[in-house]
Amino acid sequence: MTKYVLRRLALAVGQLVALSIVVFSLTAMLPGDAAEVRQSEHMTPEQVAALRNQLGLDRPLWTRFLEWAGAVLHGDLGQSLSSGLPVNQIIGESIGCTAVLAGVTVLLVAPLSTVLGIASAVGENGRLDRVITAVTLGLAAIPDFVLALVFVAVFALQLGWSPATWVGVTDLCTPELLALPVAVLLCRSLSLLTRQVRAGTVTVLHAGYVVQARRLGLPRRTVLLRHVLPNAAVPAVQDLARLGDNLLGGVLLVEAIFAIPGVATALITAVQQRDVPTVQGLTMVLAAFALLIHLLADLICDRLVPRTELLR
């Protein structure tokens, strides 16, 4: 097991290094550098060149990369081009909202999808299974932003249960405020994950060892909890990690629609202003987080069902 953990950790480190190269080159090699973004209309080409020299943009790409990577390793993500604030501060101010949104969603989605998926699989082709399958299939087909618009129109504008945007909000964690964005995030992730849990459980329920355990007369609960659940959980945990990706996309859209001052809003703003250091910093933090989730998922799966071929 330790050998597997070490290899998996090495892979994660390699991924992080490769990731930083990808992020840096994607953002740094784009036409129109920071000096052109910062220049005002009155500047002569010589002044732009001087600014470029001052920002260090005339040096070769790999020197800049090493310098940037070194600073990132020291926890310094640079300064925003548009506001001049440290990127660290921008991330620190915006990450709270995003963490609350994603956290609440994950806390709700993990147990709910497990219960619904297993209930659906145990009564395969029964009435409950059909209802759950139909509803999740339908919900999975509706894009996040369509769902968000409909929810806003119905619950915020017509019924007035909840504010339509987060503009001018100071206290972030009130239930009325969180209800709509979390509901939007929940609908899609819950339906996707429930379908995966159901499919995984159905496969395990038909597996030879479960049939044998039943034949031996083991109590239904023992079969479900000791034999079905750990094996069915492996693909579900992997899917939960992949859901992180889905969730992040959802958070991006939900933050844009509800005007939530989170990481995604900061990222979109930075992209629009071509604020390269901020985009690099935010991307690195978000992508590193995604890497961490995948790493945790793989390690959890290794604990649940020890085997080595998961790495491949």
């Binding site: 299939l137 509706i142 369509v146 990706d245 979109i268 992209v271 978000l286 992508a287």
Partner: protein
Amino acid sequence: MRRVITVLLLAVPVAAAVLGPLIADLFATQGGLPYGVDGPLGTDNLGRDVLAQLLKGGATSLGVAAGAVLLSYLVGGLIGLTAASARSRTVDDALIRPLDVLLPLPSLLVVSVVAIGGGASLVKVGLAVAVINLPTVARLVRAAALSAASGPVVEALRMQGESWWRIQLGFIGRSVLASVTADIGTRLTLAIFLVASANFLGLGLSPTSADWAVSIARNRDGLLLQPWAALAPAAMLVACTLGLNLLADGLLARARRLEVR
């Protein structure tokens, strides 16, 4: 019954996307009021006919996603096939491992980073979506091709002196087909979602474009005044993805039945 629903759900948006641009001008009413009631579906926030916009907007929504998935299957399929039939482990690793780096990247994040340079463009969004799908497609094809590629038939073909391309596409490629058809519905749905999300956020097309996702974003403020302006393109997108999901479910069930046999 289920099959009829699936075909209907898919046929309407696809027909609108493919044939729509040809006949859209027949329905265009000129210079209406914003969110007016002229025409069968009213007008949008710029006073343009919603039905005409709807017919024009499908090509970008579905076309870019389909193109991106096709591209990822072409490139990823080739990588997967080569990796599966590589006789040395090093070649296999060298082809597949680098893609592992891309695997955990959040997809909408990639699209937004790509969109940062030199203004937004649809080609870039399409390429980004193709790149995002590349690692999973390559892995899928590699896994599906592995048993066929190391079997006795390929060995015999090789000894007969058949060309690499003929072995790859003629035999191994065909054995991968079942897994690919089972996967294509889900992949296409995700690609449509991704392209639509990028367009909705303004990372792709210009804000006046007729594209379905852009139309939804643009007409969202009028949702209570003239709901069709935003709901009609939304319905098109939902019909398409719902149809694809039903299709994917059916194909998966069929694949599983074949496996059991």
